[in-house]
Symmetry: C2
Subunit: 363 residues, 2 copies
C-alpha cells in the first residue's frame, strides 16, 4: 500500500466525519490504464496499446475504489478483443486492494478480484454488476499469495476444475491427454487427473517444460510437440488410446490426438490458443473428424468458464483444499510493472510462461 | 411363401412325428449369398461381390430356418466392411419369414428381423446370439408392410429417435438442421423435429428431393447443397443460427453448418456418408473447429445406434404410434431381386434413394 492509500485507509476508518476531507483527496486520484488503441492483426504488438492517465471522480454512495496488486494476462484476451471497438480499456481480471469504500461489503483493506481491465485504480459499484463474478472479496488464501486469485484459486483453477471434471468425466485408470500442459490451466488439469487416478500425458513446447511437468508435477508422459512426432509419441505413451482429452490449443495437434481416442472418448475444448493470432481465413486445415466421431462415438464440448459462475466459490474452495494439502502445486510466471502488461501478454501468447502468467503492478 | 416353404410349414406343424421327413427335405435347402469377394476401394463395384449358392444342413434343436423377404442397404455397410476379411458373407439386416423351426420363440410363419447378411436363407440359433438385436420377432405393424422393420420401425427409425432426441435434446422453437435429409434417417429426424415444435432445415442433393421434403414432409426450409451456396442459403433460412444439427454426411458442408450454430448448439454425428468412399488419406480438409466450439460452447457427439440396443423396442413402439397416427410418414426406394443387392448399395451411396433403400428378395 502506498502512502496515499494509507492516508485514505485511515480516513476511511474515521467514517462519515471525514467525508469532506476524503472527497478533497479523492479528486486527486489518478488511474493509469491501457487503451486498446489499434485492432489486433496477427500477433498483438506493444504499439496496439496506449498507456494513459485519467483522474477519477469522488466516490458516490455504494461505490468502492480499488488499487491493483496483480494483473492477469490470459489467452482469451486475444480473441475476445475482436468484439470490442478500438478505444476501450483493455479487458482483464486483477487482484486489488480496497483503498476507499462507501460499500459495507467491500471494506477498506480487503483484497478483491475484479474484472476491471488493465487499469491501476478502479471505482466500481458492486450492486450495479450484472455478472456475479465481475468482482468479489477473496476468501482467505492462508499462507498463499493473493495472486493465486488469478490462477489456481480463480478463473484458470475453475476452468480446470469444472471443465475437466464436468465435461471429461474422468474415471480412475483412464488415460488423459492435455495440450498446453505447462500453461495456467494445463498444469492444473494434469494434477487433478492424477488425483483422480488417471494416467496423464502432457503436451508442451519445450524440453524444460516437459521435464518440469514430469519431475515436479508427476505427469506420466510428456511430449514436446515442437520436436517430436506427436502421433508416434502418443502411440508409444498410450498404446491403448486416450479416454479424455483436454484441449487448450486446437490446431493440427488436436486432430492427431483425436485420431487416437478410444470408444466413448470425451474431449473438452477449453481453448484454441494455436489459432488465436490467425485470421479466420488462415485457420489450419485438418481432415474432417466426423468419421472417427461416429465410429468411436466420441463426444466433444467447448466451454467458457463463465458458465460456471453460479458455482464459482465451490471450485475455489475445492482447489484451496487441494493447494493447502499439497495435492495441487501451483506455479506463476511473474512480470514486474504495470507498464509491462502488453509485453507479458505477447510473451504468454508465444508460450513464454510456465504456469500462470501474471503482472505485478508496482505502482 | 414359395411351395417348398409351404410344405415345410405344414410339416413343422405336424411336429416331432414328421421330423424324419423334415430332415430329408431340409437337406435340399439352398441359400444364395453374396460374398465380399474384393476389398472395397473407392466406390464399391458390382465385381466386388460374388453370388454363390450353398446347401444348408438339417436344423438342430433350438435352431430356426428363415427365408428373406426384404434386405436392407445402408450407408454403414461401406465403412464397416473395412473390418472384415475378404471371403465373408456381406453384412446387413433383413426381414425374413420363419419357414422351419425347432425353437418355440420363433414359430413357423412369424416375421422376423435378422442381422443375417446378404443371403436368402439362414439357419440360426437365437440362444447363441450375443447381441440382443441380432434377431427378433417383429411386433405387429398393423396395415403397414413388414419392410418397415428395416426402416422407420427398425434401425434407421431408432437412429433418428434415440440419436436426435438423446443427443440433440431439441426444444420447441429451436432451429434444427439435418443433412442427408431425404435419406432413411434424415426424413425421420426432420419429422420428429417438427413434432417437437422445431423449425427444420433440410439439406438434400436434388431439387426433387427438396421439393418433396418441403411439400410432403413439412420441412420449413430445404437447401440443395449441390446447386446452392450452403452458407448463404442457411443464413437466409436461419438468420438467428442453428440450435441442433443432425449430421448424416460429414464433409465440408458440416463445417459450414457448424459455423452458423448458436451458443450451446448440439451436434449429433450419425454418419459421414460423403467420405465413406474415400481413402483415409483423401479425407476432405476443413478449417479447425476448435475456436467456434469454445466461443459458442458447442457440443458434438458421434454415435452408433447399437448403443441403444437395450431400449430397442421402446424406440420401435414410439415410432409405430407416430406412424399409425399419421404423424410420421415413411418412404421407401425399393429395388426388386436379391441379385440386385450390389447395385442397390452402390446407388444408395450415390444418393439415388429417397427415404429407406431396400431390396425385395423375389426368390
Amino acid at each position: 500500500m502506498n502512502s496515499l492509500s494509507a492516508v485514505r485507509s485511515v480516513l476511511n476508518k474515521l467514517g462519515a466525519s471525514s467525508s469532506k476531507l476524503s472527497r478533497q483527496i479523492s479528486t486527486m486520484v489518478k488511474t493509469k490504464k491501457f487503451i486498446y488503441a489499434k485492432a489486433f492483426q496477427g500477433e498483438p504488438k506493444e504499439t496496439d496499446f496506449e498507456l494513459i492517465e485519467e483522474e477519477l471522480p469522488d466516490l458516490k454512495d455504494g461505490e468502492v475504489l480499488s488499487e491493483a496488486l496483480y494483473h492477469s494476462v490470459d489467452p482469451y484476451m486475444r480473441p475476445y478483443m475482436a468484439r470490442y471497438p478500438v478505444g476501450v480499456t483493455m479487458i482483464g481480471g486483477q487482484i486489488a486492494k480496497v483503498i476507499e469504500s462507501k460499500n459495507v461489503a467491500y471494506p477498506v483493506g480487503s483484497t478483491i478480484f475484479g474484472q476491471f481491465g488493465w487499469q491501476t485504480h478502479t471505482i466500481f459499484n458492486p450492486s450495479e454488476h450484472t455478472d456475479p463474478i465481475q468482482s468479489y472479496v477473496l476468501p482467505s488464501f492462508g499462507k498463499h499469495p493473493s495472486s493465486l486469485g488469478l490462477g489456481v484459486l480463480g478463473m484458470p483453477g475453475n476452468t480446470a476444475y469444472f471443465g475437466f471434471l464436468g465435461i471429461c468425466q474422468p474415471k480412475a485408470g483412464e488415460v488423459v491427454a492435455v495440450t498446453g500442459a505447462a500453461g495456467a490451466v494445463g498444469i492444473l488439469v494434469g494434477q487433478i487427473a492424477k488425483l483422480k487416478g488417471c494416467k496423464v500425458i502432457g503436451f508442451a513446447g519445450s524440453d524444460e517444460k516437459c521435464a518440469w511437468l514430469k519431475n515436479e508435477l508427476g505427469f506420466d508422459h510428456v511430449i514436446n510437440y515442437k520436436t517430436e512426432n506427436v502421433s508416434k509419441a502418443l502411440r508409444t505413451a498410450a498404446p491403448e488410446g486416450v479416454d479424455c482429452y483436454f484441449d487448450n490449443v486446437g490446431g493440427q495437434i488436436s486432430s492427431q490426438i483425436i485420431q487416437q481416442m478410444k470408444d466413448y472418448g470425451r474431449i473438452a475444448v477449453c481453448g484454441s490458443i494455436s489459432s488465436y493470432n490467425l485470421d479466420v481465413k488462415d485457420m489450419p486445415q485438418v481432415p474432417i473428424l466426423q468419421p472417427i466421431f461416429v465410429f468411436k462415438q466420441l463426444k466433444m464440448e467447448g466451454f467458457l468458464v463463465w458458465r460456471y459462475a453460479d458455482r464459482w466459490m465451490e471450485g475455489i474452495k475445492q482447489m484451496s483444499q487441494w493447494v493447502d494439502s499439497g495435492k495441487i502445486k501451483y506455479h506463476e510466471t511473474t512480470t514486474d510493472g504495470f507498464e509491462n502488461l502488453p509485453k507479458a501478454l505477447i510473451d504468454m501468447l508465444r508460450g513464454g510462461n510456465t504456469g500462470k502468467a501474471i503482472v505485478r503492478s508496482s505502482l
